[in-house]
C-alpha cells in the first residue's frame, strides 16, 4: 500500500492515537468479559510469547504515564499513599495502585485484573510492584529473572569470560522461558504453538529494523521528530504491538512519514538551534511544558535513553533466529538486558558517546526522576563524565514522571535558560 505525500504527514500521530484507542478498547473489553490479561513491563515485554497464548497485554507503566498525561495522576497517587505507600516510592507504582484501588477505572478506559503477572528485575521495583498485585489479587506472578550488565570487564565481548557468562545466563533464561510456557498453558488451557510464536518473532524482527530506521532519521539536520514527543508514541506502540502486523505496519508508516519530513526539510522544532539528548524520561504531569522549555530555545531532542530502554530493547544487531525460536528468544533477551536495558541505564556513557557523534548532539539534558532510582541514581556522575571526558555540556534537572507535586516550574526554567546560554557560548567556542 502506498500513501500519498499529503496523507503521510501526520500519519504516525493519527495511527498512534488509533492504535492506542484500540488497545484501550481491548483492555476495557477484557475487564468486562474476563478475557485473560497478562501484566508485563516495558523493559522485557515478552509480548511475542504472551500473544501466542492470546493474552490481552497490560503495560502498567504506560497506563500510569497516561494518568499524568490526562492530568489525573495526583488523585491516583494520593489513593496509594492513603493505602500506605510512602511519598518516596516510584510514582508509576503509586499511580497504578490508585487505578487498581479504583477497580481499574482509568481516564482512558478500564484496566482488567491480571490473570498472570510476568515481572522481572530489569528494574528491581518491578518485583515490588508485582508483589502489590500478588497481595491484592492473589494472582499468579512469574518472575522472569534477567541477569544484566555486570561491570566494565565482565561483559567485554569476544573474551572467554563473556562467553561463559553469556552462556550461563542464556541457559537460565531459556529454562525460565520453558517454565513460563507451562504457566501460560495452565492459565489459558492452550498448548504452546511454536509456529505462532515464530510468526510473532518474525514481526518483531521487522519492527526492530524499522524502529532503528525511524530513530536514524533524526540524524538529519533539522531533526524530523522530537524524541520525548513522537518518541513516546513509538515506545508505546513498540511495546503494545510488538510482534504483530499492526505494529510492523505502524512503523512502516512512521518511517515513511519521517523520511518525507526529511525530504521536505521539515523540522520538529522550527528554527532548530540546539540538538539535545534526553537522558531519562520527560515529566508527564507537565509534558507540554517540559518540551516547550527546550523548544522555545530552538532545542530539539534528537534521541533519548528512554527510547532505548523503554523501546523494546532492540539493541543493534537485534534479530531472532527463526530456525531456533526459543533459544534465540532467550539469547536476545539476555543481550537486550545487557545492553538495551541495564547497560544503557547504568553505564550509558558509551551509548551517549556514539549518539553525540552520530546524531550531532550539542548538549545533554539529564532529567532526574525523584521517585525512580533506576533511571536516575547515577545521572550527576554521568553528566560530569561526559563533560570532563568528552567536553559535552550537560544540564541536570529534577522532577518526576507523574507526580505533579515534584515539578517546580520557576526553578527548572531558570536552570534550562542558564543551560542554553552556556550552550550557545560553548557552541560558538567549539565552532559549531
Amino acid at each position: 500500500m502506498s500513501t500519498s505525500a499529503q496523507e503521510i504527514l501526520g500519519v504516525s500521530r493519527r495511527e498512534g492515537r488509533r492504535l492506542m484507542e484500540l488497545w484501550w478498547q481491548r483492555m476495557t473489553e477484557a475487564a468486562q468479559t474476563g478475557h485473560p490479561t497478562a501484566y508485563v513491563f516495558v523493559m522485557a515485554p515478552l509480548s511475542e510469547l504472551l500473544l501466542t497464548f492470546d493474552f490481552v497485554i497490560n503495560a502498567p507503566e504506560i497506563t500510569s504515564l497516561q494518568t499524568a498525561i490526562r492530568g489525573q495522576s495526583q488523585a491516583y497517587i494520593q489513593l496509594a499513599e492513603d493505602y500506605g505507600f510512602s511519598p518516596d516510592i516510584c510514582g508509576y507504582v503509586k499511580a497504578d495502585v490508585g487505578v487498581q484501588l479504583k477497580e481499574g477505572e482509568h481516564p482512558y478506559g478500564r484496566v482488567p485484573r491480571p490473570a498472570l503477572v510476568v515481572t522481572n528485575n530489569v528494574c528491581n521495583t518491578y518485583l515490588k510492584w508485582a508483589e502489590f498485585w500478588e497481595h491484592y489479587y492473589g494472582c499468579p506472578v512469574f518472575t522472569f529473572d534477567l541477569p544484566g550488565w555486570r561491570g566494565r570487564e565482565s561483559l567485554r565481548e569476544g573474551t572467554e569470560a563473556f562467553r561463559e557468562t553469556f552462556e550461563n545466563d542464556c541457559r537460565y533464561v531459556l529454562g525460565q522461558l520453558r517454565e513460563l510456557i507451562e504457566v501460560c498453558e495452565r492459565i489459558t488451557g492452550k498448548s504452546f504453538d511454536i509456529d505462532r510464536f515464530r510468526e510473532h518473532l518474525r514481526e518483531a524482527n521487522r519492527m526492530a529494523e524499522l524502529y532503528h530506521a525511524v530513530c536514524d532519521t533524526n540524524r538529519h539536520i533539522p531533526a524530523p521528530f522530537n524524541a520525548p514527543l513522537e518518541g513516546v508514541t513509538y515506545q508505546g506502540i513498540a511495546n503494545l504491538y510488538r510482534g504483530t502486523p499492526e505494529g510492523t505496519r505502524y512503523f512502516e508508516l512512521a518511517l515513511e512519514e519521517m523520511r518525507e519530513r526529511v525530504r521536505l526539510g521539515m523540522a520538529a522544532v522550527p528554527d532548530e538551534r540546539f540538538r539535545l539528548v534526553l537522558v531519562g524520561t520527560a515529566c508527564y504531569s507537565h509534558f507540554r511544558r517540559f518540551v516547550e522549555l527546550f523548544s522555545s530555545w530552538g532545542g530539539v531532542f534528537v534521541h533519548s535513553t528512554y527510547m532505548v530502554f523503554a523501546g523494546g530493547g532492540f539493541v543493534p544487531g537485534f534479530g531472532y533466529d527463526l530456525g531456533r525460536p526459543l533459544e534465540s528468544f532467550a539469547e536476545q533477551m539476555v543481550r537486550a538486558t545487557y545492553w538495551g536495558w541495564t547497560g544503557a541505564m547504568f553505564y550509558q556513557q558509551e551509548w551517549l558517546d556514539r549518539v553525540v557523534r552520530d546524531w550531532k548532539v550539542d548538549g545533554i539534558c539529564f532529567h532526574g526522576v525523584k521517585s525512580c532510582r533506576t533511571t536516575s541514581t547515577g545521572l550527576p556522575d554521568v553528566r560530569e563524565w561526559m563533560r570532563v571526558q568528552r567536553n559535552v555540556p550537560g544540564l541536570f534537572i529534577q522532577s518526576d514522571l507523574v507526580d505533579p507535586r515534584l515539578w517546580s516550574d520557576a526553578q527548572i526554567k531558570n536552570r534550562v535558560d542558564a543551560f542554553f546560554e552556556a550552550l550557545a557560548a560553548h557552541k560558538a567556542a567549539v565552532g559549531r
Binding site: G84, I89, P147, G175, G368, G378, W385
Partner: protein, 385 residues
C-alpha cells in the same frame, strides 16, 4: 569487666571508618588483597578460599561527612549508597582490589556504574543472585555466577580456588554462622543478658575483621554471657524489621532497647543469611549456591515465592515469642518502603501491634523515636498486663 571491654572495642571498630582491622590484616599480610562487598549477601567463602579478605561495605553511618559522593549521586537516593561511595572517594577504601555490588535494588546497582566510572583502577562487579528463586534452573545458574566471581578473584589472587580450600572456608564460615545463631538464641531466650546494641556489634563486626578472629571472639563472648549479673525486666518483646541493608544508628537501637527487648531482627541479615550449615560433602560451589537459595532467610530485596515475606515476618515474631514489631525502613529505600506496606497490613490482619518508622543512618537526634517507642511500649505493657 571483660565483656564490657569487648563491646567497647567492637563499637570503636564499627564506628571507625578507617577499617582498622583490615589494615592490621594487611600489615600482617603485605601481599594480601581485599574484596569489598556491598549489602546484602556475598558468598565470602569464595574470597576467603583464594586467600583474600572479604569486607562488608555497609555505609558509614554518621562517621563520615558525605561531600564528593553527593556530586555524583542524585539526592533522592538512600544514604548507604552515598556514604559507601564517599568512603571510597575519600581514600578510606584504598585497600580494595575488587568491589562487588549484589543486585539488591535499583539504587545499589546503578551505584555500581558510578563506582566503575569513579575508580578505573579498581575491579567492580555486579553480582546477580537469582530472583526467580523457585525456578528449577536457579541453582545451576547461581553456580555459574559464583564461579564467574570466583574467576575474577582467582585472577586477582593469582591462585586457583581449589575445592578443598573452598570446603575449608565453608567450614570456617559455618562455625561463624553457628556462633551467631547462638547469639540470637540468647537474644530470644534471655534478652536481658545481651542488649540489642551488643548483639548488633557482634554481627556487624563479622564483616569487618578476619573470620578466624571473629570466631575466637564470639566463643569468648558466649562463654562470658551466661555469667552476666543481669536481671530480667518487665519489658515488651519486639522484633525489629527493616535493617537488612542501610543500618539504623546504634543510638537509635539504644533508644529502642531502653523501652523494649528486641528479641529478633533482620539487622545485617546478609551475614546471617544462610540459616543452617552449608554441607561439606560434594561440590562446594553447588553447596554454596544451594544454601543461598534453600537454607536461607528472607529480605525485601530477594524475590522467592516460597518465602512470602509478610508470612516470614509473622513466623519470625512467633518463633521469637515477640508480642509486637517495629517495622522500619531506611529513608528513600524503595524496596524497604514498599515492603513496609505489606508488613504493616499483614500485622494488622494478624492483630499484632506494630510501630512503623523511617530512619537514616546519619540521624543524630532520637527524642522523637524515643517518645514514639516509649508510648508504644507503654500502651502494650498496659494491654498485656
Amino acid at each position: 569487666m571483660e565483656l564490657e571491654r569487648i563491646f567497647d572495642d567492637l563499637r570503636a571498630l564499627v564506628e571507625d571508618p578507617s577499617f582498622p582491622a583490615v589494615r592490621r590484616w594487611l600489615e600482617a599480610n603485605p601481599q594480601g588483597k581485599v574484596v569489598g562487598h556491598f549489602q546484602v549477601f556475598f558468598p565470602e567463602e569464595v574470597a576467603h578460599a583464594a586467600g583474600l579478605l572479604p569486607v562488608k561495605i555497609a555505609g558509614a553511618g554518621g562517621t563520615v561527612q558525605v561531600r564528593q559522593a553527593d556530586a555524583r549521586i542524585a539526592a533522592f537516593v538512600c544514604s548507604i549508597v552515598r556514604s559507601s561511595l564517599e568512603l571510597a572517594l575519600s581514600g578510606r577504601l584504598d585497600f580494595l582490589s575488587l568491589m562487588v555490588v549484589p543486585n539488591i535494588c535499583d539504587a545499589a546497582r546503578n551505584g555500581c556504574g558510578v563506582w566503575v566510572r569513579s575508580f578505573p583502577q579498581m575491579r567492580v562487579e555486579t553480582l546477580y543472585h537469582p530472583h526467580n528463586a523457585s525456578s528449577a534452573h536457579a541453582v545451576d545458574y547461581l553456580v555459574g555466577e559464583y564461579r564467574r566471581i570466583g574467576r575474577v578473584i582467582e585472577e586477582l589472587s593469582g591462585r586457583p580456588i581449589t575445592e578443598d580450600a573452598l570446603r575449608a572456608s565453608i567450614a570456617l564460615f559455618n562455625e561463624n554462622r553457628r556462633l551467631l545463631r547462638e547469639v540470637y538464641r540468647i537474644k530470644r531466650e534471655s534478652p536481658w543478658l545481651l542488649s540489642a546494641v551488643e548483639s548488633y556489634l557482634l554481627v556487624r563486626s563479622a564483616g569487618l575483621m578476619p573470620r578466624e578472629e571473629h570466631n575466637v571472639l564470639l566463643r569468648r563472648v558466649l562463654e562470658l554471657l551466661p555469667q552476666r549479673p543481669a536481671k530480667k525486666q518487665d519489658r515488651i518483646r519486639v522484633v525489629f524489621e527493616g535493617g537488612f541493608c542501610e543500618q539504623p544508628p546504634l543510638d537509635m537501637l539504644a533508644v529502642i532497647q531502653n523501652a523494649c527487648y528486641i528479641v529478633d531482627d533482620d539487622l545485617m541479615i546478609g551475614l546471617r543469611w544462610i540459616t543452617e550449615d552449608v554441607p561439606l560433602d560434594g561440590d562446594p560451589w553447588r553447596n554454596l549456591a544451594d544454601s543461598y537459595l534453600n537454607r536461607s532467610s528472607y529480605s525485601p530485596v530477594q524475590r522467592d515465592p516460597r518465602k512470602p515475606k509478610a508470612e516470614m515476618l509473622l513466623r519470625r515474631i512467633r518463633e521469637a515469642g515477640a508480642e509486637a514489631a517495629i517495622v522500619a525502613a531506611a529513608k528513600m529505600c524503595e524496596p524497604g518502603l514498599e515492603e513496609q506496606v505489606h508488613y504493616s497490613r499483614a500485622l494488622d490482619g494478624a492483630g499484632i501491634p506494630h510501630l512503623v518508622m523511617e530512619f537514616e543512618e546519619t540521624m543524630t537526634v532520637f527524642e522523637q523515636v524515643g517518645m514514639e517507642v516509649e508510648t508504644f511500649a507503654e500502651s502494650l505493657l498496659f494491654q498485656f498486663a
